[in-house]
């Protein structure tokens, strides 16, 4: 049957024309809703329950009451459920807890446990006195336990490229540290300056192969056994990221009250900061070393060195961020380095564009350049260029051996905390590797 378009159009037009609901005495009125608005009405109906719930939540202070379920009245202690998407054990759920004022002394505790599968768990805990007696000294006890055979775990990063094998790692770390900071006190969060730390620890690593052709033990020291080891070490850092000299008066308050900027008044002085995860200037220097020894032939030194520098480019908040990082383990004498302790590159922080742990060796060198620019009050976008390589000897480090990754992303944050970083990276191995992160090293 052939339908005449003009006739059909006319019928549709008559059907769809809005009809004014004009009362008899000719007062003003809008036309009634035409059928063309029905999709909107349907959408409004679908959204309505959400609106009702939001209004109910606001009126009944539901967020506060929900916090009451999981935290104490002072909000210094809390236990709440925790969900993890991806990560060392893969997606899972668990519980997270914190206390920011233990014994009323400002002593802190935080920890979480995540269960992904029977063979995949993670537990971490940290107990810290950030200012012993209110002074510049601090100490902490920490520990972590990880059991994973996830193909996405760092330990399986190299395997992911070749898909030749899969390992299961069971790792325990316990650590005690004593630290000193030059800028202890209420401003420390924003201006850290010099800090020193000495630490000692104990760990166990159990490594097994769960899939693939049998691996050579030399390249995977610690495979099919459990190694215990202890270590001592220290770390020196100088952090001047985004600290401006305090002022007695403000040239323009709004220069200091932009979203994302923190204005703090103390001692008759104004201190102005940018969120530390979006510094506009300054830098970070970090040097660390550890001596580790243990069962079997485990004897090695672990070194780390990192430099970060931030420059404001042509206009405020347009930032060039540079980073160089070296991780190195040296076997001592006839000692060996457990495979699990070898530095690795790849993942959300180091050599983006490669999967987590894709490159693993006795040394790892990373160079990063990032251009950051604001897209909203406290959000920014970034373009990054990472170069990284792993090596066995320093002499192997060559410009040609660098692996390149570049890409872009956006970072959503509040003025004080990172919420989420989303990125897409490109490398020789991955055309477009997308990822997200809830942490930021750089």
């Amino acid at each position: 049957m052939v339908v005449a378009w003009p006739r059909l159009s006319l019928l549709l037009l008559l059907w769809a024309l809005p009809v004014a609901a004009q009362p008899a005495d000719s007062v003003f009125a809008s036309p009634r809703n035409s059928p063309l608005s029905w999709p909107r009405l349907l959408w409004t109906g679908l959204v309505h329950p959400l609106g009702m719930f939001t209004i109910y939540a606001e009126r009944t202070e539901l967020p506060r009451r929900a916090l009451d379920w999981f935290t104490n009245a002072e909000r210094t202690f809390g236990v709440f459920p925790y969900a993890q998407l991806g990560g060392e054990t893969g997606s899972g759920g668990g519980v997270r807890s914190f206390h920011s004022n233990l014994f009323g002394q400002g002593i802190q505790f935080e920890g979480f446990y995540v269960f992904s599968r029977s063979n995949r768990h993670q537990l971490q805990a940290r107990y810290r006195d950030p200012a012993i007696g209110g002074g510049p000294w601090q100490w902490e006890l920490g520990g972590g336990f990880l059991r994973t055979d996830s193909e996405d775990a760092t330990i399986n990063g190299v395997a992911e490229e070749s898909e030749l094998f899969r390992l299961r790692l069971e790792q325990l770390d316990l650590r005690a540290a004593l630290g000193w900071r030059h800028n202890a006190g209420s401003l420390e969060e924003y201006t850290r300056g010099f800090s020193l730390e000495a630490s000692a620890g104990y760990g166990r690593r159990g490594l097994d192969q769960v899939e693939g052709l049998p691996l050579a033990g030399d390249a995977f020291y610690g495979l099919s056994r459990t190694l215990s080891l202890g270590w001592i070490g220290g770390r020196l850092a100088y952090d001047s990221r985004d600290y401006a000299s305090p002022q007695t008066t403000l040239s323009h308050p709004l220069n200091y009250q932009f979203p994302g900027r923190i204005l703090h008044r103390e001692g008759e002085m104004y201190h102005s900061f940018r969120n530390l995860s979006y510094p506009e200037g300054g830098g970070l220097l970090l040097l660390g070393g550890e001596l580790a020894w243990g069962e079997g032939d485990s004897r090695f030194v672990r070194l780390e060195a990192e430099a970060q520098r931030f420059f404001t480019l042509f206009w405020r908040e347009r930032i060039l961020a540079l980073r160089a990082r070296l991780d190195r383990v040296h076997a001592l004498g006839s000692g060996k380095v457990p495979y699990a302790d070898l530095p690795a590159l790849g993942g959300s922080q180091r050599l983006r564009g490669y999967h987590r742990g894709s490159l693993r060796g006795e040394g790892a060198l990373l160079l990063s350049a990032e251009y950051r620019y604001p897209i909203w009050d406290t959000w920014n976008a970034f373009l990054f260029w990472d170069e990284g390589q792993v090596f066995a000897e320093y002499g192997q480090v060559e410009p040609d051996r660098f692996r390149t990754a570049y890409g872009a992303g956006v970072v959503l944050r509040t003025s004080r905390a990172l919420l989420l970083s989303l990125r897409v990276g490109h490398s020789a191995e991955e055309k477009a590797l997308t990822g997200f992160s809830l942490e930021q090293e750089f």
Partner: protein, 548 residues
């Protein structure tokens, strides 16, 4: 497909009503007796989330709106005009709005008085009935010696006069513009004036409340900056005496109010409020800051619609100065975010570098980055989004109706202690007024106040009256009742057009008027004025049409 597109474009296109000699409608009888409607709960979070996200999606799903928007972009369909304008394209008086200063000029005293004073009686103590602790500063509900209740809101620490002055001045302006607003006044008093009422409470950590103690009161008052004489300053807002029925939204209608027949987003006074809001930088003009009152008048009960909470105006964001972006983009503005994202940071927003704030009590108020056509409040307002050039013109002529002296009279009601601050705000408002006038009068031919005098059509060129233009020429074409040109164009040097005595009686006629400014090429868009010539020769204005 083409037929469907045509259909979509045709739908909602208003059909012009025939000309009529019925009296011009100046009143919408939306005050008929109704039953008490249910109270619509005020909400902040949903108000913002809905209008920022969900309403925006729903708008696109309205196929009529989308088709018209497409038609607007392709110049195939006109914008949807307001539903409650009369034959002269004016907003009519109603439970929402009363034509005031533009049509009926108010005296300086009337402008300064606004809706009335709100000073509590000082012959006795003020009993604290309830506390207001949300937000960054304190406030109280008090009952004065006469039993009248007031809400007292204090300026935040370090921002003395900022919010209180803005609230009172904005109240005067909105009242003069024609809106229903509560009575707000600046009051000064000693802290000993307070007496803690039996029902006054303070919140306790973790939720709940406990009775207020003198220590609590001392602590609260201790956070308020006193004046040099030790007295406290606040804005007193007299409680509306009728029964509150909750907020009104800037779109849709109340289902439980039979008088509410015009979609709020299609109300002229709400659409045009965008322009008046842009004048005052009324950044927080959203549903949460409205109030419907169930009032009684002549034995009838109906809803009267108020605008409240004017503390986020001019340079004040209530508790602190406005951020420079306020007025320039929404707090969360997807278009701005996208523009920043794709421009890789090379796009520098004009307001990124704050300008000087010479008077802290004025907060952050400037005209250098002000663009009348792009001004937005902090969150999308559906009525403002629908503001057409005609709506904008309507708002602009209200703004332009305030002379410099009248502005000063209203600004003085803010009682700034520094005369320099008062003068600066008046200067900025006058300058901003002219920016608004130039913008909107450039969009619509600003000929207005049409009337017949001694057989001639006379009118006012608002751009000339507002001293925005030195003068102009006016091109006139005679039209018949169907809008067809029936005569040669003639050019006038003054806004007075003698009506052709030979026009046929008992028929409709019209003139199409265009304006050309001194030293400029080309004629403006048209304004058409239709009239009826009676058999007795009487000329009756019946319609004004404006091209946009």
């Amino acid at each position: 497909m083409a037929a469907l597109l045509l259909l979509l474009l045709l739908v909602n296109t208003a059909l012009a009503a025939p000309l009529s000699t019925s009296p011009i409608r100046w009143h919408d009888p939306d005050n008929r007796d109704i039953l008490l409607p249910a109270e619509i709960v005020e909400n902040q979070v949903w108000d913002i989330a809905d209008h920022t996200f969900f309403y925006q999606v729903g708008k696109v799903l309205d196929l009529g709106w989308s088709a018209r928007r497409l038609g607007n972009l392709l110049h195939l369909a006109p914008p949807r005009q307001a539903d409650n304008v009369n034959e002269l394209d004016e907003a009519v008086s109603s439970s929402w709005y009363t034509n005031r200063h533009f049509l009926h000029p108010m005296s300086l005293e009337e402008l300064a008085a606004g809706p009335g004073e709100a000073a509590p009686d000082t012959s006795g103590p003020w009993e604290i009935v309830a506390g207001k602790f949300e937000g960054g500063t304190a406030g109280f509900t008090v009952k004065d010696a006469q039993g009248v209740r007031f809400l007292l809101k204090f300026d935040s620490p370090g921002n003395r006069e900022l919010g209180s002055a803005a609230e009172v001045i904005a109240t005067k302006i909105l009242h003069a513009a024609g809106y229903n607003v509560p009575r707000n006044s600046v009051v000064h008093f000693g802290p000993e004036r307070f007496r803690i009422g039996a029902k006054a409470t303070v919140p306790v950590p973790g939720g709940g409340k406990r009775p207020m103690t003198p220590e609590d009161l001392r602590e609260i008052l201790g956070k308020i900056d006193p004046g040099p004489d030790g007295r406290l300053r606040c804005v007193a807002s007299r409680f509306l005496e009728e029964r509150p029925a909750g907020i009104f939204d800037y779109h849709g209608r109340r289902g439980d109010d039979p008088n509410d027949r015009v979609d709020h987003e299609h109300r002229r006074e709400l659409r045009g409020l965008r322009v008046i809001g842009s004048w005052m930088n009324d950044a927080d003009r959203r549903a949460a800051n409205t109030l419907d009152m169930y009032v009684e008048e002549g034995g009838r009960h109906y809803l009267k619609h108020y605008l409240i909470d004017m503390g986020s105006t001019f340079g004040s964001n209530n508790l602190m100065p406005h951020l420079p972006k306020y007025g320039n983009e929404y707090v969360w503005d997807p278009r701005s975010i996208l523009r920043s994202l794709v421009s890789l940071g090379f796009y520098r927003k004009p307001w990124e570098e704050p300008l000087p704030m010479p008077y802290p009590s004025l907060g952050y108020f400037e005209n250098q980055t002000f663009d009348p056509g792009r001004w937005v409040p902090t969150y999308p307002n559906p009525a403002f989004e629908r503001c057409t050039k005609r709506d904008g013109y309507w708002g602009a002529k209200i703004v332009m109706s305030f002379g410099d002296e009248e502005i000063r009279a209203m600004v003085d009601a803010g009682e700034y202690s520094d005369p320099g601050a008062s003068a600066e705000l008046a200067r900025l408002l006058a300058q901003r007024r002219d920016l608004i006038g130039r913008y909107w009068f450039g969009k619509v031919n600003p000929l207005d106040r049409f009337a017949f005098e001694d057989g001639a059509l006379v009118f006012v060129d608002l751009a000339v009256a507002g001293k925005l233009e030195a003068g102009g020429q006016y091109q006139c074409r005679l039209l018949d009742g169907q809008g067809r040109q029936v005569g040669e164009a003639q050019v006038l040097e003054t806004p007075r057009l003698p009506v052709d005595a030979g026009l046929g009686p008992g028929r409709y006629h019209g003139y199409e008027l265009r304006t050309r400014r001194s030293g400029k090429e080309g004629w403006s868009k048209y304004t058409r004025v239709y009239f009826h010539k009676g058999t007795d020769g009487q000329l009756q204005l019946v319609r004004v049409e404006r091209e946009e």
